[in-house]
Amino acid sequence: MEVLALVYRNLRARPVRSLLTLLGIVVATASMVLFMSFGEGLRKALGAELSSVGPALLVLPEGVEAFSAGYPELRPEVVERLEALAGELGVTKVIPSAVFVRGGFDPTSSFAFQGLPQGVSPKDLYPNLEGAEGVVTPGKGGAVVGGTIAERNKLGLGKTLRLSPEVSLEVVGVLERAGGIADSVIYVPIEAIHAVLGTKNYTSVLLSIRDDRRAEEVAAAIEARIPGVDAQTAGDVLRFAERAVRISDLVRFGISLVALLVGGLLVANTVMMSVYERIREFGLMRAIGARRRFIFGLVLLEALLLGLVGGLLGLLLGQVASFAVNWYTVREVGLALSSVTPRLAFFALLVALVLGLLAGVLPARTASRIPVVEALGRV
């Protein structure tokens, strides 16, 4: 009890210095929490996204990853061969689609168009989508707009969308928000995309199958029978995405390491200064009968306390920052990009504690190694 009182009162005895040090750790931890929360947010969004996708298989050109929207590379023959194999493999629906993204510098001026064949509705791809106004299936010359993008860019019924100087479409339907990437897409007839890009190729082909449990098997059969394509199941996509997110986790942690390092040095400096100021006090304790390891523990505890309190406050600040980021991204793209999960919170606290521990070791060693006579003699 006296030990905690000692540690606490010693930090409180120099409030400005302690607070500044604390602030250093708070900022370091908060920035790490925010950085890492993007990875967790991505994981959550991906999971939700995939669980709302209808078709079980995604056929892509070989070497192209899911979620990338490059120039359409799948030739029409591939679709024909897939249709020919459908009966044999238990494929119930073959939906070729082409994607066209018109980028802008900020999210409000970029648009993603997904071209669908006649008679196919966005509901066939994302079963949880519902129409809000107009029709759900884009007929010839019409476009159906996702809920988020409709709201963001004020795309009501009857508005005209220009995909290129030659190709214009009229908004014939607006969807309800369902929470996901599907809300930010404009669904158009595939002919429109083909006209804009000057190709007859497809970006991907979505397949529904009779028995979803056989997805892996069907995927393998397709890859064996049709050269030049990858058939991916939701599990494949998730695995790939997880790998990518994990790599980006490392990168983001690397960046936050700089802030953490600075925070750690601040703690080390503060505790070291307080050690030099208290050499006489430590000498007195040792004279009375305290062992070296008591002094060591006392100083280490001071650094640990700074780490713990700084970590907790940093976690709080990171959570607030994460809310702020989400408030913006939900409004702009309909996605909560950042998520402070329990395991991230735990990790952040652990890092802050380890930081305190590392920062405390050197001052603690110094404090515990001063000979008693020398410490007592110091004025």
Partner: protein, 224 residues
């Protein structure tokens, strides 16, 4: 029992060797033993050796720990600290108290090191503070206490674990005569209870109250 045998401490000061304590032998008895001598005669160095703060160049220090006698100067730091905690109490000239702890917590500190329970520590510390007349200063921090009060807190603390040996290095050095008198009375009463008190001072007036006076000159014990 505390005994010094041929105790010698040499310091190397550049080229010259300083013999701060020179072949000092003495068996300390219960009651007050005053160590006197001019400045630089080796009083503080001797106390450092007897208390195990420092190790002698030659000779040894023996203390009685219950049934067995141990050679303090041959033990490692941790063991010496542990023996100090149980067998010795200290009152220094100044800087006696931990500045961030209250009077009560300072007195309880050795008991905490010894692993006594919180309630027991608080009760005994309060009783000891009452014994030195400071029952109204229990919650005060050291910087809110006068020099005399601080010394009395230090005396209370030195008695916390009821040690047989008390070291006092110029305990009244910074005090006016009235507070000094109060402190000396407390120390004397502890000596009457059978504790071995080693009182380092250059105040010959104080030394006169001792049961035994050791005079040091150039680190050596001189007679008379």
């Amino acid at each position: 029992m505390l005994e010094a045998i041929h105790l010698t401490k040499r310091f190397h000061q550049g080229e010259i060797d300083v013999v701060a304590v020179d072949r000092f032998s003495h068996r300390f008895q219960p009651g007050i033993t005053a160590v006197v001598g001019p400045s630089g005669s080796g009083k503080t160095t001797l106390l450092n050796l007897l208390a195990g703060f420092d190790t002698p160049t030659e000779g040894e220090v023996r203390v009685q720990d219950g049934e067995k006698a141990v050679v303090l100067s041959k033990l490692d730091e941790g063991r010496r600290a542990e023996l100090r905690l149980r067998l010795m109490g200290f009152v220094f000239q100044q800087w006696n108290l931990i500045p961030t702890l209250t009077a009560l917590e300072n007195v309880a500190f050795p008991m905490m090191l010894a692993g006594h329970r919180l309630k027991e520590r608080q009760e005994r510390a309060a009783a000891l503070l009452a014994q030195v007349g400071l029952e109204k200063r229990v919650k005060h921090l050291p910087n809110r206490l006068s020099g005399g009060e601080q010394q009395r807190v230090a005396i209370a603390r030195s008695l916390a674990l009821d040690p047989p040996i008390l070291f006092a290095d110029e305990p009244t050095g910074n005090l006016d005569s009235a507070s000094g008198e109060r402190v000396m009375e407390l120390i004397t009463s502890q000596a009457r209870k059978g504790r071995t008190v080693i009182l380092v001072t250059h105040d010959l007036e104080l030394a006169r109250r001792a049961d035994c006076v050791l005079r040091l000159r150039d680190g050596r014990l001189v007679d008379g």
